[in-house]
């Protein structure tokens, strides 16, 4: 791509170009096509006589046309980014932000941020999403402002739905007269942020360096303030590349994080009264824990009430083997008289039985008269186009406040309002719940035995084998496939970093790159990262493995290979059955076979360790041992496990 000039074009240069063209036109006789406008008489086709400017241009030394500069706007941008402690910038390189890219590498020393090279923008955003959920702070992502951003959009939508801060930079060239012919026009826009505005919290296109400084800090602050979400900054090429004209006038704004709001005190007390008085209270939650304190706060609160918890697993909210974890006993929803919903994503969906039949119907899963309390920040920032907010749910007390931050006050209110008789009743309730929890665990183990030696391998056996090999490591499981819940049924998941939720927007292609992003965060803590993912998801972004290999990001990735987009396979079967037609051809368009994809070979082609395809469950343990050795040595490893569908 041609390099644009660093300084504003001089009229002299344009003049010379024009004169040159005129001269050339005069020297070559134009072809005369049928129907073309008749040529002017030859005598009138001559170039005009040189005027004073052309004469000057041909006789005077050239005007200043510098070829070096000692500073660039990109340097200032990096200086601002550094103050925000942004550790990485995941990128797919693009000329429209070459000024920033070069400044990160040379002015910034490729540290804070360090470049993470990605082979697709969707991978770069998903790596950012996975990283932010694990580390509790965002990294940056950079791409072409038009075509790169178009690639990045689905991943940004996932981050939006998942309420995860991701900072996206898109290069642009705002001034039309500065764009080189060709790609720079194709990759420029008047308002490139409009593409992602419906699923970002905020965006801007700074017109000056000081403007960038303030917008960068503002973007960071907005992204990390609950409800969190992605933000976008369009970065003008001239601003990135040109010399800083007055360095002394630029300042770097001070960042100070927002203290997440605690719910109204009176409302907290009212909620506590309802919960203490309840005979069968219930907590349902989704994205409560945004820091390690979140799980601790929820455990203390649940224990104060001896209240069952149903976790939708959007974050690491509650230990899997805590006696009050009743996540696989959804029937409790129908027994509860007071339900506290904390940072829920889809409250209506959780509290409703919905039937996907010819006539779609629904009825509440809650019992009549049950009181519903909500606590959270999600509904404080919604947009209208995309319908990720879900269906309206009637509630009885709606508390605007950050769930994690509000729980200590709620716990204290519960303790204060509980009399000894109630405390005794709570303890009795807790014992019954502990018994039920243990029965649930035992039932899971019993169910897992079915088809233990079957091939294709059952998902229960796969998960049990993996856990057996990693349980003594400081592990962190950061990804799962659709409907794959055996980890939460069988594993002792109890540390804040041992789970980080799913995609958010159900956009396929999340799992592999987001797991690598989480592994990038885990790397400096020395944690052993493991993830499961479907084969369909894998094939959206297999190039993410190259990033893991290139940057030596250790991760054990298990491909749950059922050789299908299996959820779709089932949907299609349901359609055929509904229509009373053959259901034996529903593999058409839904399966990944003929030929089977060899994921281990794909992994090796990306520079990762590859094992498989494994079809005999007795081959799993040796393969896991070999792969774990690779991961502990610092690299990525993939095991292709040919599994039964679910």
């Amino acid at each position: 791509m041609p390099k644009r000039r660093q300084e504003a074009d001089s009229s002299r240069r344009n003049f010379l170009k024009g004169a040159g063209l005129v001269g050339a036109a005069a020297a070559v006789a134009p072809p005369v096509a049928a129907g073309a406008m008749p040529a002017a008489p030859l005598s009138k086709a001559k170039a005009a006589l040189p005027g004073p400017r052309q004469i000057a241009a041909e006789t005077m030394p050239p005007a200043s046309d510098p070829v070096n500069q000692t500073s660039s706007g990109g340097d200032y941008m990096v200086d601002v980014i550094k103050t925000l402690d942004i550790e990485y910038m995941a990128i797919n390189c693009a000329s429209s932000y070459r000024g920033l890219h070069e400044a990160v590498v040379n002015h910034g020393g490729n540290t804070k941020p360090e470049i993470i090279t990605c082979v697709h923008e969707d991978i770069a955003v998903h790596i950012s999403q996975g990283y932010a959920k694990m580390e509790g702070k965002p990294i940056a992502m950079a791409c072409h402002g038009v075509v790169g951003l178009q690639h990045a959009t689905m991943a940004m939508y996932n981050a939006w739905c998942d309420r995860v801060p991701v900072i996206v930079f898109g290069g642009n060239i705002m001034e039309a007269d500065k764009r080189a012919p060709g790609a720079e026009w194709l990759h420029a826009g008047v308002d490139i942020g409009q593409l992602v505005r419906e699923f970002t919290k905020w965006d801007d296109q700074p017109a000056s360096l000081q403007h960038f400084g303030e917008s960068m800090v503002r973007a960071y602050k907005i992204a990390t303030t609950p409800p969190m979400g992605p933000v976008f900054l369009a970065l003008d090429g001239e601003l990135q590349e040109n010399p800083i004209r007055d360095r002394g006038s630029l300042r770097i704004p001070k960042y100070e994080p927002v203290i997440p709001p605690v719910g109204d005190s009176a409302a907290i007390v009212e909620a506590a009264k309802m919960l203490v008085a309840a005979k069968n209270p219930l907590i349902v939650c989704d994205r409560v824990a945004r820091t390690p304190a979140g799980m601790k706060n929820l455990v203390e609160f649940a224990e104060a009430l001896q209240c069952p918890v149903i976790d939708n697993y959007g974050r690491m909210n509650f230990p899997s083997r805590h006696p009050l974890n009743q996540s696989f006993r959804r029937a409790l929803i129908g027994q509860a008289d007071v339900i506290l919903a904390i940072e829920m994503n889809d409250l209506w969906g959780t509290l409703t039985h919905f039937r996907d039949r010819i006539d779609r119907t629904s009825h509440p899963a809650t019992k009549p008269g049950a009181k519903i309390i909500t606590l959270g920040m999600r509904d404080l920032y919604l947009k209208s186009n995309y319908q990720d907010f879900g269906r309206w749910q009637d509630v009885d007390l709606d508390i605007a406040g950050d769930g994690e931050a509000s729980l200590p006050e709620l716990t204290e209110a519960v303790r204060r309002l509980t009399d000894p008789a109630q405390k005794a009743a709570f303890d009795e309730r807790g014992k019954k719940l502990a018994t039920a929890h243990q029965a649930m665990v035992e039932r899971s183990k019993v169910d897992a035995t079915i088809g233990w030696d079957a091939s294709p391998i059952t998902t229960a056996r796969m998960c049990a084998e993996v856990y057996n090999q990693i349980k003594d490591e400081d592990w962190s499981v950061v990804g799962t496939a659709i409907r794959l819940s055996w980890m939460h049924r069988l594993w002792d998941i109890k540390k804040p970093y041992q789970w980080n939720g799913g995609s958010g927007g159900a956009g396929v292609g999340y799992n592999l790159p987001a797991s690598i992003g989480a592994a990038l965060a885990n790397k400096k803590h020395g944690r052993f990262t493991v993830a499961f993912g479907g084969d369909g998801d894998f094939m959206f972004n297999p190039g993410a493995l190259w990033t893991a290999a290139h940057h030596e990001i250790p991760i054990l990735y298990i491909v749950h290979n059922n050789r299908a987009y299996h959820q779709e396979y089932m949907y299609l079967t349901a359609m055929a059955a509904r229509h009373g037609r053959g259901v034996d051809r529903m593999d058409i368009g839904t399966t990944l076979k003929d030929p089977n994809i060899d994921y281990a070979t794909v992994a090796r082609g990306m520079g990762a360790h590859g094992e498989g395809p494994i079809t005999d469950p007795n081959d799993l343990a040796p393969a896991l041992k070999r792969a774990i050795a690779v991961v502990k040595a610092g690299g990525p490893a993939v095991i292709d496990v040919v599994t039964d569908p679910r």
């Binding site: 697993y313 039949r357 079915i450 799913g502 509904r578 009373g580 034996d584």
Partner: protein, 133 residues
């Protein structure tokens, strides 16, 4: 693109135990009731149909259960009476597709029933040390 892979949906569907147990309680009969109405069937043909007609996609090839929009109960060594089993196939509760006689004949269902009933059911986890971590 409508492919469900968000964790909330994943885990909601993973409540196989809760709703699956409910389904079982609604439909399950005693072993004696099952024995009385058990049909004569061809297990080999039942297996062929079970795998061909996509039963396995939700319930697993060895009847270990799974999930569709909600739980797909365990069918291995099922204790359901045949009539309840057939009723669920023809006019299912929840989101299971209804299989009409145009798709599955009564004999097909009987063959499937014999096949799944003959599948090994669960065992004691004590025999599987890695399940006791």
């Amino acid at each position: 693109m409508h492919k469900l892979n968000n964790v909330a949906v994943t885990m909601v569907a993973a409540v196989v135990l809760g709703l699956g147990a409910c389904l079982g309680a609604c439909l399950a009969g005693s072993q004696s009731a099952r024995a009385q109405d058990a049909p004569q069937g061809d297990a080999a043909n039942g297996k062929r149909i079970f795998l061909k007609e996509a039963c396995f996609t939700c319930h697993g090839r060895v009847g270990q259960g799974g999930a569709y929009n909600g739980p797909a109960p365990i069918l291995a060594h099922t204790a359901l009476p045949f009539d309840a089993f057939k009723g669920q196939v023809r006019n299912p509760i929840n989101d299971m597709p209804a299989y009409s006689s145009a798709v599955l004949s009564d004999k097909d269902i009987a063959d499937i029933y014999v096949f799944v009933h003959g599948l090994p059911g669960p065992s004691s986890p004590k025999n599987f040390p890695i399940l006791n971590n």
